[in-house]
Amino acid sequence: MNLSISPEAVPLIREGIFVGLIIVTVFGALLATLAKRMTRAVLGLVVCFLGIAGIYYFLNSPFVALMQLLIYVGAVAVTICFAIMLAEPDERKLAAKTPGMAGPLAVLLGATVTWVLAGTAIKAEWMAPAVKINEGSVKDVGVSLLTTYSMVFELVSIVLLIAILGSLVIARSGRDKAEC
């Protein structure tokens, strides 16, 4: 038994996986916005992030893909879970909570945005993709982060530091009030 795949079939498999990833991503996004229970919404978000990470991998950016997994799935989604568990909101109220006109209007707006953006994307004359595929290697990314973009890099670290301090202050002040 030899299940080797001929080189001609490889692009087909690639496209199949790609379509699968698109379905996963869109399904996750829909689950995230439409789910009745909040933990399911977060699960949807995680599924969506996983799909997007897969698509990044397709785009020859494995480093971005893994950063997506590490930071979005490992940090942001888990932090959201934390917030849900700490807040423990009443989930039964969730279903009824859509003010009259907001739903249809939001659908309308969303559809318009899709139509405009996707229409532009499909109709525009894209230049032919470059022959040389960028390697997206960690080394290149690291070098440009610490040379060309070093200023931005430092600023982002300051933003992160301030964010940590700020969230600590916000979260602690509530607790102090509850204690005294």
Binding site: I22, V113, A163
Partner: protein, 100 residues
Amino acid sequence: MIPVSWYLTLAAILFSIGVYGFLARRNVIIMFLSIELMLNAANLNLVAVSHYLTDLRGQILTFFIIAVAAAEAAIGLGIVVALFRNKATVYADEIAQMKG
């Protein structure tokens, strides 16, 4: 080779789902999730274009967006938790103290 318009269309769809979620849902945490979706749609565009132009700039910008999104998550969820401690609700339309 998958054309770049596919990626951009997918990003547009994700962004619109985010827009819908942000406008139609009143739960602060779900609104927050929708913002994350929109940020991800932007990232997807950047990485796709970066790939097709064989230019690393898009990827670098994506890193910065991811970092800022992480900061935003920390602050945003800190606010949600503090809000819940004080008002015991996570619904945006129940926080109407400033309404005259």
